[in-house]
Amino acid sequence: MSSTRPAKLPASVLIHGEALETWPQDLFIPPDALEVFLETFQGPLDLLLYLIRKQNFDILDIPVALIIRQYMEYVELMRKFRLDLAAEYLVMAAMLAEIKSRMLLPRVQPEEVEEDDPRAALVRRLQEYERFRQAAQDIDSQPRLERELFLASVGFQDPEPVKIESRASLNDLVVAFRNVIERSRVNRNFSIDREGLTMREKMAFILRKIQNTSRFVRFEEFFDLRQGRAGLVVSFMAILELVRDDMVVVVQNDPFGSIHVKRNEQ
């Protein structure tokens, strides 16, 4: 495994639309693309828009039968893998099927077309969603704080300093921690060194960490955030391996309480 190339984590290859451009037009979906797929689409409307746009159709003039067939193939795949996620997609599938059957009925008078065209409601929703999808992209592409813009601040020099107690809220603390964790995670996705992630090395690292103490070590201490999400799992599994080999003891005093690890003294 040490020779494996860094995995392309979905989060890092996902630029909406682009990662999927390589998919064959005939809807064959390679199995490993499924996860990318699930993370890429925001829901049935998003998927429909993708199918329509990919083939350059106008929202207002969808070839319904074709889109329905394509949509159902995607939904089938999702059902196969992650049934729970498909609920919203299934509702849409039912709606599409109904539209399709109504389209097959004899045509109505042209002047009543808006009310009676079974596509009208769907088209309205698709348009509405697309507007906000686009707005979200537009907002995201504008300069904002912490990315392009930074607040300018300088130190306050006070010749007769009074003690000013700075303040913070619990919420500030949570946001700060999330940001810092997220940042370290993003960094990792770009610089994971697979060489450092072998299970044997992890097991050795853990044993080194606990061999000189008969005390319990906090579970969290075995995880090096710089090693990425995969690193976390390798660490976790390395601990499981050690438990199985009776090398370490893992203790959790109450449900959801903190977990501690100690070397097995026997």
Binding site: H16, L45, A65, M103
Partner: protein
Amino acid sequence: MSSEAPRSELKNIIESLLVVAEAPLSLSAIQSVFDKDAAPRSDEVEAAIRELQCDYESRSIEVKKIGNGYRLQTRARYAQWIRKLLAGRPPKLSRAQLETLAIIAYRQPVTRGDIEQVRGVAVSPEIMQRLLEREWVRHAGVRDVPGRPELFVTTPQFLAYFNLESLGDLPPLMEQREFAEVAEDLAKDSGLSPPVEALPDVQASDA
């Protein structure tokens, strides 16, 4: 400030306030640091801020108006060096977060149901939680319908983070074409086979 103090001194005082403030400063916040009888009029403060803005023309910082306040910020073209200093990548927002935020921003006040209606998927509690935590969004009462669902609106911090003077600065929403306009096209098309020629992309109408 004594009234004889030169204009440049007013400018400097304002600058010194802007460089230590952590949120945009309103004219009245600036006026409030002066003794009552020495406080500059708000048009004087505004003029001084305009002068500051000119002074910064060729510099790395600029005055930006956010809501009814002013703040100092670095210009976007210096981000590349600043980011290296601060290390780490800028926080990224997920599409779900951005879409939810966009719907709230353009349609406020909205309920969770409104958001779900537009996006076609359930709004996860986590997404709302994040937006509330960042204080970009807040609760704003309930809608007076059965179930009394909670309403959400954006906050001044939303404007501040996204560098907007007001909600009017949001990028314009794509125009919505009326279904009726193209009803004729639809009538012509059987609907069961793709049109021979693809129509121009709707997105193109988004300037």
